[in-house]
Symmetry: C2
Subunit: 200 residues, 2 copies
């Protein structure tokens, strides 16, 4: 399966260990109050090594989210061509949400207020959304054909992902009594898709 013996110097750390070190510090000192140096130090590694695993300080907040979001392209790809475009989009997004591991609620969402400057977090979250919006937009452009123009695919992509983000936010802040993420996402994305389905 895996290549048994990788060549070169072995890794001394991993995204997970850095993430855990960061999590501790964030809870102790808030996000804004901890430096990359401190994270790296607690993980027993140098500051540059941190940037070897993460492109930015805020990336450490979104490891789980990133892993989940990566599935969107695949889920869209395996949609049958005979099911209406908006249905395919809705189902794909819901399936992605359902695939998210149960326990993993990103602290970026739960402890938004404890984390200090909210701006950095919002920006980093939005950047992730934007990235997936390209995937969604391209899928819709293909499905709807050129006659749909540029606006509708882009609007659907943004609106659907924003609705999903809202759902994730409410889900995260719902506390321990929360239902599965996919429920919230379905409730938010469903109407959005329905509205556009009627407009096509």
């Amino acid at each position: 399966m895996n290549q048994a013996q990788p060549v070169g110097r072995p890794r001394r750390s991993s995204k997970r260990t850095l993430e855990e070190a960061a999590a501790e510090l964030f809870l102790e000192q808030t996000y804004a109050g901890t430096t990359v140096d401190q994270i790296a130090q607690r993980a027993g590694v140098s500051r540059n090594t941190f940037f070897n695993y993460f492109g930015s300080k805020s990336d450490v907040l979104w490891v789980d989210v990133d892993e989940t979001l990566e599935r969107l392209a695949d889920e869209l790809a395996l949609a049958p061509t005979d099911v209406p475009a908006m249905d395919a989009v809705r189902d794909a997004v819901i399936r992605v949400a359902a695939a998210h591991p149960d326990g993993r609620v990103p602290w970026a969402l739960t402890q938004v207020d404890l984390m200090g400057t909210r701006d950095d977090l919002e920006a980093s979250g939005l950047r992730r959304l934007m990235k997936q919006s390209e995937v969604l937009r391209d899928f819709l452009s293909r499905r709807l054909g050129d006659g749909a123009g540029d606006l509708l695919p882009q609007a659907v992509a943004f609106a659907v992902l924003a609705a999903a983000a809202a759902a994730a936010g409410v889900w995260a802040s719902a506390g321990v009594s929360r239902r599965p993420l996919a429920d919230y996402v379905a409730e938010a994305v469903g109407p959005t898709c329905a509205g556009f389905a009627a407009a096509i």
Copy 2:
């Protein structure tokens, strides 16, 4: 109307002059390639004075947008209570778009590719829009009552504003042949609101 004689040292600069200085430099050197120092220097003022007018470098890109977005709260406030909530939201957003001055297309959107890192700028623009989501969410919470729960107001707020953002993006990149911004916004926000109107 205005207070005639403001007391204290008179201002030496303004958001507009700084914005114009920045615009020149961005076209010459791209956004990422110009420093705040250079902007301030060209405007004949010190670096700290720039931060006296703008909270961050990227703020200088969105002066017009910010002015337009400020109207949303007012537009929502003057919606009659007998018109359905989603209709009120849609109309308010469209009126805000219609109030945007015709010529002013933010370069942040038109010259996205010249501006260096595209993601950061788009995210910074979206962040402005999402700031308005609180206004929208509160309006909807009031209108829909407690029975609606937390999710729907938040989802509507995000989805509607995201659709509006998509519209603005397409509008900006449409070139000189573009129709009024409000047209694009109506086309994107209409279906979004319709979908949720049916779900309430």
